[in-house]
Symmetry: C2
Subunit: 202 residues, 2 copies
């Protein structure tokens, strides 16, 4: 099976479209996806590349574009959600735990549904807790691990790795050294992964 | 036939992909395309939204992405061209003349081939002149009109119209009040134009 890394950040708006699509499309393409949450805000500041926060015209378009793309893909849309979210980084760290333990897709869809459909901030402990409960995980155990030094360090390490790869935004799909930015490159990335010879894994 | 406005700027990198595709795709979709060059740099500054000039990591990705997308679409790629180009605005103003006279597609493809394949700046008079000659136009007549007050004013007016529509980048496709940004939204925009009832023109 071919391998693709999925670098993203809990708080990325366009990633909603990706999160609701990636597991199905990757399965069809027979590509394994490795979820890699990292601190994209650190790179935004370093690179003087703030995508929406200080750009109201572009931000207004972004919401409309996500709404239209969601309709195209048959993904639910609940109106414009709060933004930004996960300032605490809690859901990003839970995502690292989830990726490590093999349930990142389930958690991330639950968390993004809370954000996009119920308009809750999954950086708030009670929202993350409810999302964990909804997928049958023990919130206390998971949140304790998400708050551990090990996971804080892994979040920082994945941010460093993203920087080294030339990543500047999310979602970004990585096959070897080749990077594809944006939900609208998901199909291109999967096709690239399928054609890549050297990335084969057992 | 349905109608779509194509707001763009001579100097936009991703627009290379659009310019080489739009007339064929629009003809297949039975949508008429109206070329609207405007001064996107004015909006970049107003909106604090500089896409690439001060962002080397993102700019490096952009060239690689265009190269890959060109390969996907069967469009020639000649390596990374000079950037930025058309600081004088000459080709933007020629584009307004061309749009008015009905040969924007021909001129723009010739100009972009000079930029992307021969690595020449079509803001330089001799490059614009050669592009005009290659499509059988009288360069002196066209350039005189491109330098007229009428065309300078139309360039400014189209910039104002772009601002009013909530445009922040190029290429942008407009159907009524609905805007689609990016070469990767060309197909979505054409589909939207096809489905739009009220935009029908005779």
């Amino acid at each position: 099976m071919k391998r693709m890394e999925f670098f993203f950040n809990y708080g990325s708006t366009y990633s909603y479209l990706t999160i609701m699509r990636i597991e199905k499309l990757a399965a069809q393409a027979e590509v394994s996806v490795h979820w890699r949450p990292f601190n994209v805000r650190t790179l935004f500041v370093e690179q003087n590349n703030i995508p929406f926060r200080d750009k109201p015209v572009k931000a207004a378009y972004m919401w409309r574009d996500i709404e239209r793309r969601a309709a195209k893909f048959g993904i639910e849309w609940g109106g414009i959600p709060p933004y930004p979210v996960d300032k605490s980084g809690l859901s990003n760290r839970i995502g690292i735990v989830a990726s490590d333990e093999g349930w990142a897709g389930e958690y991330t869809r639950a968390a993004y549904r809370a954000w996009f459909l119920e308009h809750k901030d999954f950086g708030e402990p009670e929202v993350a807790l409810a999302a964990l409960q909804s997928i049958g995980k023990d919130p206390k155990l998971v949140i304790a691990r998400a708050d551990s030094d090990e996971i804080h360090q892994k979040f920082a390490a994945q941010t460093g790795e993203a920087r080294s790869l030339g990543i500047f935004g999310v979602p970004t799909f990585v096959i070897g050294k080749e990077i594809f930015w944006g939900d609208d490159r998901l199909e291109d990335a999967l096709e690239w992964a399928q054609k890549s010879a050297e990335q084969t894994e057992v």
